[in-house]
């Protein structure tokens, strides 16, 4: 049975989701990710969905679940590369995935994961007002 590969780079796990994900594949990915987070002690997970042309409510909820479960295992998830038509459709379906951090692309996603690893997490409170 096909599995979506999970790569490890530093403290982070990387997943690139291909186009055709059936329910079985998605569930397996969820299981594999949780196993790998624990096994590798990863603190960040980047899920690249830039190839996905369709994300329906099942897949949307799956992403939310992966984010919640990972947080319990002390890892932050960032989902990157959602396509505009997919975003609009998900919102129309009533799914805004509030518990899932999103980034425009892989670079931004990695930056966000890096931020999460700084002491206290998140941005620092410094003001950088222009002019």
């Amino acid at each position: 049975m096909a599995r979506i590969p999970i790569l490890k780079l530093g403290n982070n796990l990387f997943v690139t989701v291909q186009v055709d994900v059936d329910d079985q594949l998605a569930s397996t990915l969820q299981d594999d990710l949780m196993t790998q987070i624990v096994a590798t002690g990863a603190k960040g997970v980047l899920i690249d969905i830039s190839s996905m042309e369709i994300v329906d409510s099942f897949l949307g909820r799956m992403l939310a679940q992966i984010a919640s479960m990972s947080r319990i295992l002390d890892a932050e998830v960032v989902v990157v590369g959602m396509r505009p038509p997919v975003a609009i459709t998900l919102v129309e379906l009533g799914l805004s995935l509030p518990g899932v951090r999103m980034a425009l692309n892989v670079d931004r996603g990695i930056a966000m994961l890096g931020e999460a690893l700084t002491v206290g997490g998140g941005r620092d409170g410094g003001d950088h007002v222009a002019g």
């Binding site: 329910d23 079985q24 369709i54 409510s57 038509p85």
Partner: protein, 144 residues
């Protein structure tokens, strides 16, 4: 900016019927709906909405209806260009249709059927269901 697509010269939606009895069938059905949407020249956003709605319905038929059938064809609404998708099953039917179709936007109405959401994605939505008999949902997306 909105992109426009023009229909492939002479293309039409070739009617087809597809079984929906497994996960693979749902994926396959999505492909067929996508192909039909492309052939008719639906805009990308409309293709995405139609395929996603069809996916919701197909999944319902599989998970709640015990498996079913999907049909793809041209719209029956007078003079409309586009795609018509029908998903039907002989499952237990929907007991509370009113609740299933309640459109509370930010609220999942708890039935997990995603019907109000699917309805928002399409231009035409029709549903028939009878307890103990089955469910049939008809949707259309038009080239506008």
């Amino acid at each position: 900016m909105a992109e426009t697509t023009s229909p492939v010269e002479g293309a039409a939606v070739r009617p087809g019927t597809y079984p929906i009895v497994s996960d693979d069938d749902v994926v396959q059905f999505r492909h067929e709906v996508r192909a039909a949407a492309l052939a008719v020249g639906l805009r990308l956003i409309d293709q995405t909405k139609l395929v996603t709605a069809a996916s919701e319905l197909a999944r319902n038929a599989l998970e709640h209806g015990g498996g079913g059938l999907g049909e793809i064809g041209p719209p029956e609404t007078a003079g409309r260009r586009g795609v018509r998708v029908i998903v039907e099953d002989d499952g237990p039917g929907i007991a509370d249709l009113g609740l299933a179709l309640t459109d509370g936007f930010s609220r999942d109405n708890g039935m997990g059927l995603g019907l109000p959401g699917s309805r928002r994605l399409v231009d035409f939505f029709d549903l028939w269901s009878e307890v103990g008999v089955g469910t049939c949902v008809i949707i259309e997306k038009w080239a506008l």
